[in-house]
Amino acid sequence: MSAPQTYILQVSNLHKSFGGIKALDGVQLSLQRGEVLALMGENGAGKSTLMKILIGLESADSGEILFEGKPLKSSNVKQTLDRGISMIHQEILMVPELTVAENIFLGRETTRWLPGWVDDRHMYHQTDLLLAELGLTLSARTKMKYLSVAERQMVEIAKAISNNARIIIMDEPTSALSDKEVTTLFRIIRDLKAQGVAIIYISHKMEEIAQVADTITVLRDGRYIATKPAAELDKESLIALMVGRQIDQLFPEATTQKGETVLSVRNLSRAGAFSDISFDIRAGEVLGLAGLMGAGRTEVARVIYGLDAATAGEIFLKGQKVAVHSPQDAIRHGIGYLSEDRKALGCIPGMSVQHTLTLSSLARFATWGFIEATNEQETARRTVSELHVKTSGLDQGVMQLSGGNQQKVVLGKVLLANPDVVMFDEPTRGIDIGAKHEIYKLIRQLTARGIAVLLISSELPEIIGLCDRVLVLSQGRQTALLSGQEANPERIMQYAVPA
């Protein structure tokens, strides 16, 4: 064991409860200067609560946090920020109409001549230096809104550095980055390490962790499980630590017979998004929709679901041509859609688990418009137990659930409308491995019931592991329709990358 003074941050025996639920139950964590610590755990393991306490957004019920050997006790974000703890958020919080420099210096502008008179020259000069130091070719005078997600993230990091951050917390920093941008991020992380900045890195992506982390701390159900050097943990043992059991087979085998064609799409086009898309899905079949970001996969699903209008083409359900002008039409025709954007399109803030579940099928529980409360409740209770949703009750707010459980509730809502075909759009994005496995099993259960599934995913193992056939899109056009045997990562990428 090294001497305690080399630790920049030591958390011991931390407890925090919300209502009756223990979010943190005796958590510990140690961080050295220049160390990259990966914090791992399933959703609901307590990672976000721990981070919120570290940055002063929540306060712990009991336990000790030593920052540079001194107790850190603040319930104030500004204070922790001043002391050198910064967090790069998953969803970036910046003012779009202000420039890069204005955002970096937001709240601590340098002034001269008059109180409140901003010293622009100094600010822009400092920002240019900072961006150069990070090796970024951004102008300090660009408005935030013109930057890509990756660039905004870099600006957040620049802001943290300019704040003299000694600990930077990164929450799923690569979730919206391209491979090239990830490389840049990792280079910056290495530079920061070299300067003695400690980093807490939160991610579900195992490959990244292996590349970037020195140490891994695993939490499960609010409890501390283990801390090990990253080099000592392989993927399987890490998953076992996180889930507390081995997942023997991530992708369950398909066992079903394929039935009649359920959904047929012919020459579907939407100007500016995609054109001439045709495919069939049979009952019990999983059709994968693969392609790079921006290939038009989500756009195809949105048109089929009636969220956007098609400019040409036809949609047939069980042989009948249908006109879908709104999600309402789509649901009536038996089409369900699980959006990639759970927050914007799936959940209604403030709604309970029960009310979210029944939202798309409410008319079924009503006579003359009056909802039969017991019927609704019974259905919701059954769905919660069928889908293994972890919730404190049917009345719990859906937004309070972890990502995986939110996803299950939204899926429950789709399923309660009795769809014949369900389109899954990145169903496992941002959810942990245990919940992923459950979603995969659910997809298998649906196909066993004769439901046709369209699966959009950027994770090739998911596409290959689950799909009977794979349709590859590239720049809005379909470039290949591969059978299950033909589909492998190389083939798919070959068709997905524009010629």
Partner: protein
């Protein structure tokens, strides 16, 4: 991994159940009771049957408007045209309510129908043009006032039939007719909001319009519905007011929309949509009525009353915010 933003949603989430079940109105109910007790102790004239009856009768018009605007605010909208609709519908009713001209049903149907049409107009423009409800109803507020003046040629319309005036001044079993209307409408609105699919859809539309649409909810129809409800209830308020003052007044109802919105907000309806209850709104309206009545009894001039009312509105919203944090 959840991030900061969800913690805000979470807070809203905890209060939802309470709100929907009317428990979130505890705070305001408590304030209401405290103020009533305080008034009862400071003046013997407050806690009498006749005074309480006067209060509820006076509150009824504001409460009818407030119920309507509660639907609208829950869906994330606003209706500023209510006061003008009271005037238009009141004038329309008066035009057909002279003694020995038309049967009583005619002014009733015409006034409610005018409210329904104007509300429908609001809803149609809001859903088709995507112009914010604040702007659209600001426009119809002026249009409505103009129509009221045009229809009445700028003059009050009096000489109304006794049967019509009964709506505002009559009593059944000693209970003023406006109070009976108030109670029936309150029960109907509560049921609509709490027990029907349309009520549930209103919360969904106000909570997250995009998600509501993606869940297959007819968002536009729900919006049309709330503005039509709001307009129709304004028509009912116009009838009650016209019958009470036995005159169709083109200048009536100025600023009524603000009192109605205040009642909804004091009662815990969130201006950002997605939460609120009719019980809360009723208490909000009663609170406003009790305070102005109490201040009258205590001989506080109406100038001060306005100051007090403003402080209470802001205080109610602050309290509501504190409640959410605590939840």
């Amino acid at each position: 991994m959840k991030q900061l933003v969800t913690s805000l949603y979470n807070q809203a989430g905890t209060s939802y159940k309470k709100r929907v079940q009317g428990i979130g109105t505890y705070g305001i109910l408590l304030a209401f009771i405290v103020i009533c007790v305080a008034l009862a102790l400071s003046t013997p004239r407050f806690l009498t049957v006749s005074n309480l009856t006067i209060i509820v009768t006076q509150v009824s018009i504001n409460a009818l408007l407030a119920f309507g605007v509660t639907f609208v605010i829950i869906t994330g909208g606003i209706d500023l045209s209510l006061g003008s609709l009271v005037a238009v519908t009141g004038v329309v009713a008066a035009m057909f309510a002279h003694p020995d001209t038309f049967p009583l049903i005619v002014p009733l149907v015409f006034a409610l129908g005018a409210g329904l049409l104007m509300g429908g107009f609001n809803g149609l423009v809001i859903t088709k043009s995507k112009v914010p409800p604040f702007i659209v109803t600001l426009g119809t507020m002026t249009i409505g006032r103009g129509l009221a003046l045009i229809l009445s040629k700028g003059r009050p319309i009096s000489n109304l039939s006794d049967s019509f005036n009964f709506i505002g001044g009559g009593k059944i079993l000693g209970i003023p007719f406006p109070i009976i209307i108030l109670l029936i409408v309150f029960v109907a609105c509560s049921l609509l909001l709490r027990k029907t699919i349309w009520g549930r859809y209103m919360y969904a539309v106000g909570g997250n319009e995009q998600a509501a649409r993606a869940s297959g909810i007819p968002v536009e129809k729900i919006k049309m519905l709330v503005y039509m409800l709001s307009g129709t209830l304004a028509g009912l308020a116009g009838l009650v007011l016209t019958a009470r003052i036995t005159t169709g007044q083109p200048n009536a109802g100025q600023g009524f929309e603000l009192d109605a919105i205040a009642a909804a907000i004091i009662g815990g309806t969130s201006t950002s949509g997605g939460s609120g209850s009719m019980t809360g709104t009723l208490i909000g309206a009663l609170l406003i009525g009790v305070i102005s009545n109490g201040l009258d009894l205590l001989n506080v001039t109406s100038y001060y009353q306005q100051v007090v009312m403003g402080v209470i509105i802001i205080g109610a919203v602050i309290l509501d915010g504190l409640n959410r944090k605590a939840a």
